[in-house]
């Protein structure tokens, strides 16, 4: 087993080195689907964070009790329960957001980030460490959604959080709101992430 990182490093790795979207290419479906407006991306990020953090807490606290043959099934039930809670909560208290996100809230259940973190981390680490890991990954995921949705909303509608930012001279690029804009923006951002990574690596070596 590799030497244990400090808790701070455990948190920070989710932001960049192991960022779920930009570095691990996980959770692409919601990343692409709900980032047409900042508010949707943010709500999605929070809902995912809620599920990821609570699932990590539960899994890491009962990890010794779960026989390894049925661990995936157990994780899935735990994750699905928290997803249902998030879905119901949004539908009850934030109906417009629930409507805008549609089936993508229930789909958090198949977001590979969540099952992946349980399998790779929470099932092997202490409760505190799993919590920090989940917090870091959630922050990384929310950041990725915010970056993508800010670009798309700004260029696609000239607004940020529905406030007009760009003046009337700006003709919105409708393609940015469409599925095509999601794919292309994320593709360019992934390229940028790799570019930054290689540039900083060559400089440090």
């Amino acid at each position: 087993m590799p030497p244990k990182k400090s808790l701070g490093a455990e948190y920070l790795k989710g932001l960049w080195d192991e960022n779920p979207v930009f570095r691990q290419l996980l959770g692409m479906c919601p990343t692409l689907a709900v980032t047409n407006a900042v508010i949707n991306g943010f709500a999605m990020g929070l809902a995912t964070a809620f599920v990821l953090i609570l699932s990590s807490l539960v899994v890491s606290s009962i990890k010794k009790l779960i026989p390894s043959q049925v661990r995936i099934a157990t994780y899935i039930v735990i994750i699905a329960s928290f997803v249902t809670i998030a879905d119901r909560f949004l539908a009850a208290f934030f109906p417009p957001i629930s409507k805008a996100l549609g089936p993508y809230v229930p789909l958090i259940v198949v977001n590979c980030i969540i099952l992946g973190r349980q399998e790779a981390f929470s099932s092997k680490n202490s409760i505190g460490r799993s919590l920090v890991d989940a917090l870091g990954m959630s922050t990384g995921f929310i950041l990725a959604l915010l970056v993508l949705s800010s670009i798309r909303e700004l260029l696609g509608a000239g607004t940020f959080l529905s406030y007009q930012v760009l003046g009337s001279w700006f003709k919105p690029w409708i393609i940015m709101i469409l599925p095509a804009g999601a794919f292309i923006t994320l593709g360019v951002l992934l390229g940028l992430a790799i570019l930054i990574e290689t540039k900083t690596k060559t400089r440090s070596s």
Binding site: L25, M28, C29, L32, A33, I72, A73, I76, V77, A80, S81, V83, T84, D87, R88, G102, P103, P106, L107, V109, V110, N111, C112, L115, I175, L178, P179, A180, G181, A182, F183, I184, L186, G187, V188, L190, G191, L192, I194, L195, T198
Partner: protein, 191 residues
Amino acid sequence: MDLLTIFVAAILVNNFVLYYFLGICPFLGVSKKIDAAFSMGMAVTFVMSLTAVVSWMINHWVLIPFGLDYLQIVSFILVIASLVQLVEMFIRKMSPPLYQALGIYLPLITTNCAIMGLALLAALKDYNFIQTVVFGVGSGLGFTLAIVLMAGIREQLDLADVPEPLKGAGIALIVAGIMALAFSGFSGMIK
């Protein structure tokens, strides 16, 4: 809604990959050979059609009559996971050649959000039984179409001079964007 509309919409207008963004992981990861992509697509179509049938039955015979709609997500995901297991065991027993062709893709399918997405979307759209089946088959074929087209393009992309940082997922996503744009030309074709 008539069945042809649902079928054509599922394949072209509201393509699972390019409009609903479902099944992106296999779309970006697996597809580099047309044959393999086609087999994967067929495996997904097969599981999707089954999922459509089973999830409809669970939803309409168990969850709705007993007011258990809050168990929808849990039961759908469990059904999909066990369905994939069963299908895998069944094919391995009954038809080794088919297992050779599809088998390796089956475990990947459980975490494929397209399957769960299908079950949820069919429930959300309130389709009846036949409509759900048609929607399942159409969505599977739509997924196959997208993944096979992508594989064809990526075979060519290997020879293209792509900027270093964009190689791999970056250029694949940009290509997907252009495909999505092309597919949006099908919008409005349904009367």
